[in-house]
């Protein structure tokens, strides 16, 4: 995201380039590449970058964690790295240590609630939980008698319905039916489901911006390479202008998500300003994903519609990510309501405060 890429982001880039090259993965017959990748990410301390050392993590810092997510987006890798980062972060909010291994986080849809009773049993339904079937643990934000609580749950104690998002990554309905928590704690004051969804939403925005950047580079390279009517299609003004628009979408997603990530990395609490930053990032990056994917496919022609080409690894994921942690319609309604409740005279001051 910035010129001074951290060591953490550099090591993430190296690991993905070595072990999760999109071209190689796309040709792979099985998922054997996943284990060494996950091992390398774990060894480098990237999976638990948002967990303090005392709770079993590498405490790399929020900003650095977002850089890792940006890199994960650029490679569109189908491993639960972002989900594990988020789960570790959520557990830390409750002072719960992170177990090793891949984790995911629930709920992932604003309309789903999971209850927690006094004896630490969870019940409720969470739809669209990314990678649930591939993870040993789920970090849950539940509501109990005393408000929001954070719980660590073993996936094997939940009922997980097999499923996948359009990109083929596991996306599951998870049923909690008197499911015992391994550990549970009340969330700190002011931390609630909205805060958790905003954090997840910003993570998806940063990931989307990373993927969009890759899609732009790929599309520019293809346009310079592909010849039609005896010249590279990049020489046609229609193509140039389409790609300029793609660049605009990338720029908007990069700016909005980078700003929101920076805001969260430096925040005191999830206040109205963070809400504006985070909700806007999710809305704008989702819109960019839709428009950007369409342009990239148009420029690639039929080859981009094949399984063999890697374009779909990026486009389908960024389209699928729109639905996680609140889609753009959800956040637009929430943001619109918030702004309306604040009143016309408070609107510009709110925008200008960022």
């Amino acid at each position: 995201m910035t010129e001074n890429v951290s060591i953490v982001a550099e090591s993430a880039t190296r690991i993905f380039a070595d072990l999760a090259d999109p071209q190689t993965i796309n040709r792979a017959k099985d998922a054997a590449w996943k284990a060494p990748l996950w091992q390398a990410l774990t060894d480098a301390g990237l999976t638990l970058a948002w967990v303090p050392e005392a709770l079993g993590g590498s405490d790399a810092g929020l900003a650095e964690g977002f850089e890792v997510i940006d890199v994960a987006g650029r490679f569109a890798a189908s491993v639960p790295l972002v989900e594990t980062l988020l789960a570790g972060w959520l557990l830390s909010q409750g002072g719960i240590a992170s177990p090793g291994g891949p984790m995911t986080i629930a709920p992932g849809r604003p309309s789903d609630t999971i209850g927690l009773n006094a004896s630490g049993k969870l019940s409720g339904r969470a739809r669209g939980i990314p990678f649930a079937q591939d993870c040993e643990h789920i970090a849950v934000l539940a509501s109990g008698a005393e408000g929001a609580s954070i719980a660590l749950v073993e996936t094997k104690n939940c009922r997980v319905t097999p499923g996948a998002n359009p990109a083929g990554d596991a996306s599951n309905e998870v049923l909690f039916a008197d499911t015992p928590a391994v550990e549970w704690r009340p969330a700190s004051a002011g931390f609630d489901r909205t805060a958790m969804l905003l954090m997840g939403g910003v993570a998806r925005s940063v990931q989307t911006a990373g993927a969009l950047g890759a899609v732009l580079r790929m599309s520019v390279a293809y346009a310079n390479d592909r010849v039609a009517f005896e010249r590279p299609i990049a020489k046609f003004q229609a193509i140039q202008h389409s790609l300029a628009q793609l660049a605009g979408e990338v720029a908007a997603a990069v700016a909005a998500s980078g700003s929101a990530a920076d805001a969260i990395a430096h925040m005191q609490s999830f206040d109205d300003q963070i809400f504006l930053e985070a909700a806007s990032a999710k809305i704008r990056s989702a819109e960019a994903a839709e428009k950007g994917a369409a342009i990239a496919h148009q420029v690639h022609g039929a080859i981009g519609f094949t399984n063999e080409h890697i374009l779909h690894r990026f486009t389908l994921r960024m389209l699928a990510w729109r639905d996680d942690f609140g889609n753009e319609s959800h956040w637009a309604v929430e943001l619109g309501r918030k702004v309306a409740a604040g009143g016309a005279d408070a609107f510009w001051p709110l925008l200008a405060s960022r």
């Binding site: 310079n224 660049a247 990069v254």
Partner: protein, 386 residues
């Protein structure tokens, strides 16, 4: 591609927020005194010399320029804050806006010392108005087709030809004009144009009004009939103006004025919707807010690049392309969202009046200062496509 797109999350430092409070207090006083009405950009004259002098006295023109020339040696981020607050208030900045944004910086870079000492302090005091003399009847997007001729004469140059669409020429003191000093060459069709400082009171200049479709008179035709310009008014390299254009465009294209020109309809919509909008209105409003926030964060980021001494031509073009299209569509979106409002909600009349005006001026937003198509060409070049 030259580089990957980066928009660092620049935050405005505390001195900017202190300045913002001062600017808001000043504007509130001017509004209270009846200098202008922020809700009625369609009425009132955007040109107000007395107001400009008061802004100059505050030290808010030439904010980033050296003190030696009347400037204040403050940052581009502070300038950003002043610009956006004045824009949001619909304040009458016409007298000094172009000089502050681009003419002054050109003079700073290319004018001889005595001219800088003469003119820049007057710009800073809000006393002089500058115009941009680029477009001609047969040279718009294709700037390098300009034909208005500067011929060498004793001690200076003689200008013949005409400029068109020259905003504010009828109220202005100076033009920075682009004139042909040599034919273009086979190798370089951009060769042969030179920038000049023109005193618009010089003999031989005729300014003819051109009325716009809004009924307003902003732009003009400026006719040059053997107009003499002394040698010291040549700005930069003779025949080499094309080399000087890039930084000017970065200044011109990335500012908050490039997405906030119709912003008032959004504020009015929020007022009209009230505190509990229905689902449809809330979603529509939320999407507009997200866009506005994203554009502003991009634009602040570009101000940070300018402050760091970069020439963010591609980034500036991206902001202007997205920003002008957004501000152009904004009245249409607001109109849709207001469609089912009660006819007699408090500010309905103001909203309707503003919408009518914003819709009328909307077409110009993606033409002035470089069309959408021209911007996309620049972006495509930056991407390595041409």
């Amino acid at each position: 591609m030259t580089a990957q797109l980066e928009f660092d999350p620049i935050r405005l430092p505390p001195e900017c927020e202190a300045l913002r409070r001062e600017v808001r207090a000043f504007l509130a006083e001017e509004i209270a005194a009846g200098t202008f009405d922020p809700d009625r950009p369609m009425h009132g004259d955007m040109h107000n010399t007395e107001f400009s002098k008061r802004v100059g006295a505050k030290g808010w023109i030439g904010l980033t320029w050296p003190k030696k020339y009347g400037g204040h040696e403050r940052t581009f981020l502070e300038r950003y804050v002043v610009t956006e607050e004045f824009r949001i208030a619909n304040a009458p900045v016409r007298q000094y806006f172009v000089a502050d944004r681009q003419s002054g910086p050109i003079l700073l870079k290319y004018a001889p010392e005595h001219i800088k000492m003469d003119i820049l302090p007057r710009i800073c005091r809000g006393e002089v108005c500058f115009v941009i003399g680029m477009s001609e009847p047969n040279s718009g997007s294709d700037l390098f087709a300009a034909k208005t001729k500067a011929t060498k004469a004793d001690g200076g140059w003689r200008i013949n030809g005409n400029k068109i669409w020259t905003s504010n020429a009828h109220i202005a003191d100076y033009m920075i004009g682009l004139f042909r000093t040599s034919p273009s060459t086979k190798e370089n069709r951009r060769h042969g144009l030179t920038q000049f400082l023109v005193d618009l009171k010089t003999d031989g200049i005729t300014i003819n009004p051109i009325y716009q479709m809004t009924g307003q008179h902003d732009f003009n035709e400026v006719v040059f009939d053997n107009v003499f310009i002394p040698d010291d008014c040549v700005l930069g390299e003779i025949d080499g103006a094309w080399k000087q254009a890039t930084s000017e465009l970065a200044y011109e294209r990335s500012g908050p004025e490039r997405f906030l020109e119709t912003f008032y309809v959004l504020t009015a919509l929020i007022r009209a919707l009230g505190s509990e909008p229905d689902l449809r209105s809330a979603e529509g409003l939320g999407r507009l807010v997200a866009q506005a926030h994203a554009l502003r964060r991009m634009s602040v980021s570009v101000a940070g690049m300018l402050q760091a001494g970069k020439e963010p031509v591609v980034e500036g073009s991206l902001v202007k392309d997205l920003g002008t299209i957004w501000e152009q569509k904004l009245p249409a979106r607001v109109r849709e969202l207001a469609a089912f409002l009660e006819p007699d909600v408090g500010n309905r009349a103001t909203l309707d009046e503003q919408l009518a005006f914003a819709m009328t001026i909307a077409p110009k937003l993606t033409i002035q200062g470089g069309t959408t198509e021209v911007l996309r060409g620049i972006i495509a070049r930056g991407l390595g496509l041409r």
